[in-house]
């Protein structure tokens, strides 16, 4: 070792060979990532399959992309850790198999607001609408920004087939029928949701607004595990 690092030792020699030096550096940086990543891809036991976990519906997918657009992940995690307080506060801890269709993953790194991994079904649809329009109306003292534009902006669904085709090619099991009927399916789910919101005294005609997609996505979150028992 001392021969290697002493002044005019062997290290001095490779300091005169930029190419060798660079190759050695690349090898050093590739080892760690490779050793850690390969088992995650190759060994199925690392991500046990949960059969009740299914891909997002077209409307939920649209809502998820709006969730990404608004940067919700900056303040809300979707990853419940296996601690007593988190189970108490948020519900069952998050399983690896629950996010197999999440591209990208949205686990987050900061809880400026509460975790949302199991927010689905926790509040009525109308609560979410009011909360997005004015967070303080449902949660006094909240520091969350209002997202009132979600109630007025028209929901864009025409890119759904392209998005679902892309996801299908990456491995999400959407059928051709799913993709062909995606816009229709999304509209139907949106109208259903909007009817429910209006029936409960909420705003009328939200069926073609972005908010319904976001609500559909939020109401889906974390519900796959209990789907069978419902």
């Amino acid at each position: 070792m001392s021969k290697f690092i002493q002044t005019n030792g062997r290290h001095r020699t490779i300091e005169g060979w930029p190419l060798v030096f660079t190759v050695l550096t690349v090898i050093c940086v590739l080892v760690g990532g490779t050793v850690e990543f390969l088992p995650l891809v190759l060994m199925e036991g690392n991500i046990p399959v949960i059969s009740s976990v299914t891909p997002y519906t077209p409307l939920e997918l649209a809502g998820r992309d709006l969730y990404i657009r608004e940067g919700c992940v900056n303040c809300h995690s979707q990853m419940i850790r296996p601690f007593r307080d988190e189970l108490e506060r948020y519900g069952d801890y998050s399983k690896p198999g629950e996010s197999v269709y999440d591209r990208p993953f949205l686990w987050g790194s900061k809880r400026t607001g509460p975790d949302l991994a199991r927010v689905g079904g926790k509040y009525p649809d109308l609560w979410h609408v009011r909360h997005m329009e004015d967070p303080r109306s449902t949660s006094p003292n909240s520091i969350m920004p209002p997202y009132d534009w979600l109630l007025s902006k028209t929901l864009k669904l025409n890119d759904l087939p392209a998005k679902m085709r892309g996801l299908k090619s990456l491995g999400t099991p959407y059928s051709t029928a799913d993709i062909d009927g995606s816009v229709e399916d999304a509209n139907a789910q949106a109208e259903n949701l909007a009817r429910n919101i209006a029936a409960n005294g909420g705003p009328e005609d939200l069926a073609d607004k972005e908010i319904v997609a976001v609500v559909a996505y939020l109401q889906r979150l974390g519900t796959d595990l209990t789907k069978l028992t419902n």
Binding site: I5, T7, R12, E15, G16, P18, F21, T22, T25, V26, C28, V29, L30, G32, G33, E36, P39, L40, N46, I47, I68, R69, E70, G71, C72, V73, N74, S77, M79, F83, D85, R89, S94, P96, E98, S99, V100, R103, P104, F105, L106, W107, S109, K110, T112, D115, S139, N141, S142, I143, P145, P146, W149, D159, K163, R165, G166, S169, L170, G171
Partner: protein, 471 residues
């Protein structure tokens, strides 16, 4: 004998860009710091917290720190190789390409065009552009090494090599995605695997964008400013290779107790703890370079800034391994402690190393004296106090909230079942953090004024340095 003239103009470009984007990035930082305790500062769709936070992080990391390390690399590489950069054209393509990328980020992020992956939010067309510009930068750099007139590469160059190749690997690896529209793509990996790749990237962006190039910068500019040789050649060898090898493994510590397999997180934690020593190797090599020269701190604002910078490098690289320990992470994760830690590194280490370099370069690049030493000294104090206020506020907020989340009463119920209670508790700390951030921004403005006045009061047109070498 022949004369080799360095390309110092490109360094002037990068230094000016550093100051401009530093100001912009920190201004956005101050705005989002205000938005947390004062939601009314969310100014509609395009200027709400969720869209501006990635703009802030991208601006300070890739625009402020990015332009600074490019400036440092172009300045020092030419001198260490005794050669002009291989291609002026490539240097200019690098500069303007990078500025174009930054402007694209500043437009697309407020529009909500984002991948949603932390520190890698830019969508695929911009990612492609980043890869192209980076490759041109790499080719220019390595061809300059090829035409060097100095046989051995000095330690700063080792760190630049590590930076250039690893950032390329990380950027490409984490950006593997399938485009499904002009500004929309889905990543190749999903869920657990995507999380792993993201933090392999995220952690090593800290390592190879905010650490290794800055160590290279330190190894060149600190001995110059102190007029002392580096403390230990052997230590530089040992800590260089350890850092390059160990850092990559540490990524999964960002995912402790998540759905990522426990063995990966434990591995990440163990390597994070091992990283402590080589990191301190860098700190020791920096601080000990000042042996016998500490009296120079009295008169040199540059050295003062380096000492704060290197000291905070030591603090953050102690804190990093600490936070990677699972039991500590259980408390700190998801809280403002993480944000405080990031800023101890960013404001303390990166910021002050950049400021020190700029104050050292200004008179040399423009053949003049620094316009105001006093203002630079004031910057040092305002920046230091601001940074300390900032990190103290967030440490306090983070620990407080972490403890409140997990508090149980004697009957076995959560003491604070309403999340809101834990938010209200830390809002005052958000105000203190804003004050700290504004002080730091004030220092940045002082640097800007000093820079403008130094350039304006320079008597002659700036000329590029030249050396004579054997023909």
């Amino acid at each position: 004998m022949m004369i080799v003239r360095f390309d110092d103009q490109i360094v002037r470009y990068f230094v000016i860009a550093t100051a401009i984007w530093g100001f912009v990035g920190m201004l956005v930082g101050a705005l989002i710091a205000l938005q947390l305790p004062f939601w009314q500062a969310n100014l509609g769709e395009y200027l709400s917290f969720g869209r501006l936070r990635p703009l802030h992080t991208n601006a300070v990391i890739f625009a402020f720190a990015g332009n600074a390390i490019f400036g440092a690399i172009y300045y020092s590489t030419q001198r260490l190789t005794k050669a002009r950069m291989f291609s002026d054209l490539m240097s200019r393509f690098h500069f303007w390409g990078w500025q174009f990328i930054i402007v694209s980020a500043a437009i697309t992020l407020p529009l909500g065009l984002t991948t949603g992956k932390e520190y890698a939010e830019l969508e695929w067309p911009i990612d492609v552009l980043i890869a192209v510009v980076w490759v041109v930068f790499a080719v220019n750099f390595f061809l300059t090494l090829k035409i060097r007139r100095e046989k051995h590469m000095y330690v700063a160059l080792w760190f630049y090599i590590a930076t250039i190749v690893t950032v390329a690997v990380l950027h490409i690896g984490n950006s593997l995605a399938l485009p499904v529209g002009l500004f929309k793509s889905y990543p190749l990996f999903a869920g657990v695997q995507d999380a792993f790749v993201q933090w392999w990237y995220g952690h090593n962006a800290v390592a190879f964008f905010l650490t290794t190039p800055f160590l290279g910068l330190m190894y060149y500019f600190l001995p110059k400013a102190a007029e002392r040789p580096v403390f230990s050649y052997r230590l530089s060898i040992v800590h260089f290779w350890s850092i390059v090898f160990l850092y990559i493994w540490a990524g999964p510590h960002h995912l402790a107790y998540t759905a990522v397999p426990e063995w990966a997180v434990t591995l990440g934690m163990v390597f994070s703890i091992m990283l402590w020593m080589p990191s301190w190797g860098g700190m020791i090599n920096g601080l000990f370079t000042l042996r016998g020269a500490w009296h120079k701190l009295r008169d040199s604002v540059v050295l003062k800034m380096y000492v704060i910078g290197i000291t905070f490098y030591g603090m953050s690289t102690f804190e990093g391994p600490l936070l990677s320990v699972k039991t500590v992470n259980a408390l700190s994760h998801y809280t403002d402690w993480t944000v405080g830690h990031a800023h101890a590194g960013a404001l303390g280490w990166n910021g002050f190393m950049i400021f020190g370099m700029i104050y050292w370069l200004l008179p040399r690049l423009w053949n003049t004296k620094l316009w105001s030493e006093r203002m630079a000294n004031a910057h040092f104090w305002v920046g230091t106090i601001g940074m300390l206020l900032y990190v103290m506020a967030l440490y306090s907020a983070g620990v407080t909230q972490g403890l409140m989340w997990r508090a149980f009463d004697d009957a076995g119920h959560l003491v604070y079942p309403d999340f809101m209670e834990t938010v209200i508790q830390i809002v005052p700390m958000y105000w203190v953090r804003l004050v700290g951030g504004l002080l730091y921004l004030t220092g940045m403005i002082m640097l800007g004024i000093n820079m403008i006045m130094t350039i304006r009061t320079a008597k002659e047109k700036p000329s590029d340095a030249a050396i004579s070498v054997a023909a």
